[in-house]
Symmetry: C2
Subunit: 419 residues, 2 copies
């Protein structure tokens, strides 16, 4: 097992960059501040993390993070660099939790850096033997949803909290009638007393199954099964047995080991909600970049992962959203297909840009208010989104297309501020 795990970081340091880069290598070998008995040169050579490449970037006058020491040379500035390491697979074995402890463990803490972000990583093919990855991916999801050659268009049940199972089922009925492809629970709505998952599944699936029998189209509903693990598996079975076709989990709450555990048992696509992600990435010099983050979840077996959307209600710039979508489209370990989920403040208006920059229709395109608050009701909201994507794919200007598509025209009028 001589293969190596590669990990790339954005680093900032008050110290000479080679020295700071080396400390991380040390933290991954002797792991203490002095040479210890048993730590031979041979052993260090074989197991130590290796600095593979240092690409020096700009210098800055203020440190990004506290506790990083004071510059001792270089004009009192802090140096930034992209630093690539390799770690011996022998150190961790094929073990995703220990891989995480290695590439995203006690490194952010080091006072030798005043900024550290894990940008990306790659693992040897050996990981594919233990981690089978997403079960459905884009292709399998499309087959279950019966949607091809265009985005899977969907919505989130809103309000996030307070709706009864009957109210959710009634809303689902309206949306199914409108021809929607996909509906998901909000991440706050798992198994609360006012809407127990079992009852919600029963009532929602009755409506979906009835509509499917009638129209031949079964709406994919991602039920939020986020819970303690035994209960999560029970909830999965409840969804499966009721004829459901998707389950959703809050990735950061469940953890990669919990998701991998679900994946072993799961017979449905896993819809990965990344709530809490802002904490891990919003600072440019701390945490994890999405390219690395999504690989963890693809290894764990997630089929869909949220990537935010253009002109979203969050902090994230469009360029970052584009990079996230592209990261999802890039094959990992030769496959591990994951479907990016676009959402947050979306309506018809963002479709053309999204299509242009994603370069693909292999996305889920979710709008909450953009569908539910359409002046003509949810059915019109759904139609407006379909029309927007038709225009985008066919290269027709949105305003022009809206001239002959009333729902799109209404959407542009109401949500115009989002363009």
């Amino acid at each position: 097992m001589s293969e190596r795990v590669v990990a790339k970081y954005l680093m900032e340091t008050a110290f000479p960059i080679e020295q700071a880069a080396d400390v991380i290598g040390g933290e991954q070998s002797s792991g203490t501040f002095v040479q210890v008995p048993g730590e031979t040169a041979d052993l260090r050579e074989r197991f130590r993390a290796r600095v593979e490449e240092i690409h020096v970037l700009e210098t800055v006058s203020e440190p990004s993070l506290p506790g990083g020491g004071v510059p001792t040379e270089g004009g009192g500035n802090y140096t930034r660099a992209e630093v690539t390491y390799s770690f011996s697979l022998e150190n961790m074995g094929v073990n995703l939790p220990t891989l995480i402890a290695t590439v995203a463990g006690n490194l952010f803490e080091l006072r030798d850096v005043s900024g550290l972000k894990l940008l990306d990583f790659d693992v040897p093919q050996a990981f594919a033997e233990r981690y089978v990855g997403p079960q459905f991916g884009i292709k399998g999801t499309r087959e279950l949803a019966g949607v091809f050659d265009r985005p899977i268009i969907g919505t989130i049940v809103k309000p996030s909290v307070g709706l009864t199972p009957d109210a959710t089922a009634s809303l689902t009925g309206d949306l199914a009638e409108a021809g929607i492809d996909f509906i998901k629970d909000d991440e706050l709505m798992a198994d609360p007393p006012h809407s127990p998952l079992k009852e919600r599944v029963e009532k929602v699936m009755a409506v979906i199954n009835e509509a499917a029998d009638r129209t031949g189209k079964k709406v994919m509903f991602a039920f939020n099964i986020t819970d303690e693990l035994d209960t999560m598996l029970e909830h999965h079975d409840t969804v499966l047995n009721a004829g459901g076709t998707c389950v959703m989990v809050s990735l950061n709450s469940i953890g990669s080991a919990g998701v991998a555990y679900l994946r072993k048992h799961c017979q449905l696509p896993i819809h990965g909600h990344r709530n809490g992600w802002g904490m891990l990435t919003r600072h440019p010099m701390l945490g994890i970049g999405f390219s690395a983050y999504q690989k963890i979840w693809r290894l764990a077996g997630v089929d869909h992962i949220h990537v935010n959307g253009f002109r979203n209600k969050f902090w994230e710039p469009d360029d970052s959203v584009v990079q996230s979508m592209k990261a999802c489209f890039k094959p990992f370990l030769g496959g591990y297909e994951v479907m990016p989920v676009i959402s947050s403040g979306q309506s018809a208006g963002q479709a053309p840009d999204t299509y242009k920059r994603a370069g693909s229709v292999d996305v889920m395109y979710l709008a909450g208010g953009g569908i539910m608050a359409h002046p003509g009701g949810p059915a019109s909201g759904m139609k407006a989104l379909s029309q927007a994507w038709e225009a985008a794919v066919n290269g027709i200007d949105l305003e022009t297309y809206a001239e002959v598509h009333i729902e799109l025209k209404q959407a542009i009028k109401k949500f115009g501020n989002l363009f």
Copy 2:
């Protein structure tokens, strides 16, 4: 179920603070950018997150995080405040993963804030019905380790990687001979090819059991069982069946749901390693404070949790370490006893300050190099630490005590730079 979850944040915003505070309440009710059908005033009142208190702090001229908008009033400054919310338990039920999605979910992303840190939270007593919490805590750990009225003194097997089971067992023998209380695997050493956990447990426990039979003292060894969950439980059983008395997991890699799953099955204390924690907390205006963080793990059932140490090798200042220790000592839900683990660049020199400021000996005090690289060998390193704590507890000056304790004197000479 009218009880409420309370959560306190440090917030920074370009906008009027009441307005920004309100957006988070909104994100937790309608959860979208426009009023939607079905969202009645009654429903909002009952389920909406409530702003309970706003305590305005300083203003700053530069935003802590990107994407937070531009100040529209107040002299172009960004306002900081402590904001306390309450969330209806009805929204989430007694569900730790969904609690996390609620109090630490899609809030850090909001462009209405340019900084957000979850400082603390509290849950209603109903959580105690589902989450039994730590099984051993301080009292149970002391009984298993046979150490009372002083810190449990221990070390980490170093180097972090590369040692064979035989080498680890041999080192363990030396340390057991020296009278050490506790040894732990490094977080990088779980079940790698060069030291399979099963073989390591077998060889290490043979040495520990033999020493225990001879001396009556059984060293507590925290085996790193971090892995996919089925394997993790198998590893737990391996440790238990070999007579082991502790298991360790990388908390952030396993996740709260994975740890709660282990807790259900577990018959040994869970030693919680927080590697990766720097990513969540090092920026003062982003992420989670330790007070909130450690409550998640106490609910999940962790018995020991790492808190860093004084004058550590990481970025963390001593005041922050003191706060973390005190957070652990504070009863949660009337108990949920957790033992703080002090480590990182520790040697004899930090004992007096640690005792003075922690106000307690109910800690684990771990030294890697501080024991292993002692000039007289690990046995002398162990003795030096015991002597340092004796001096601390008895209020004797360390230098004075070292006059008549040779191992302490040697430690001070070698590691003096850490004082």
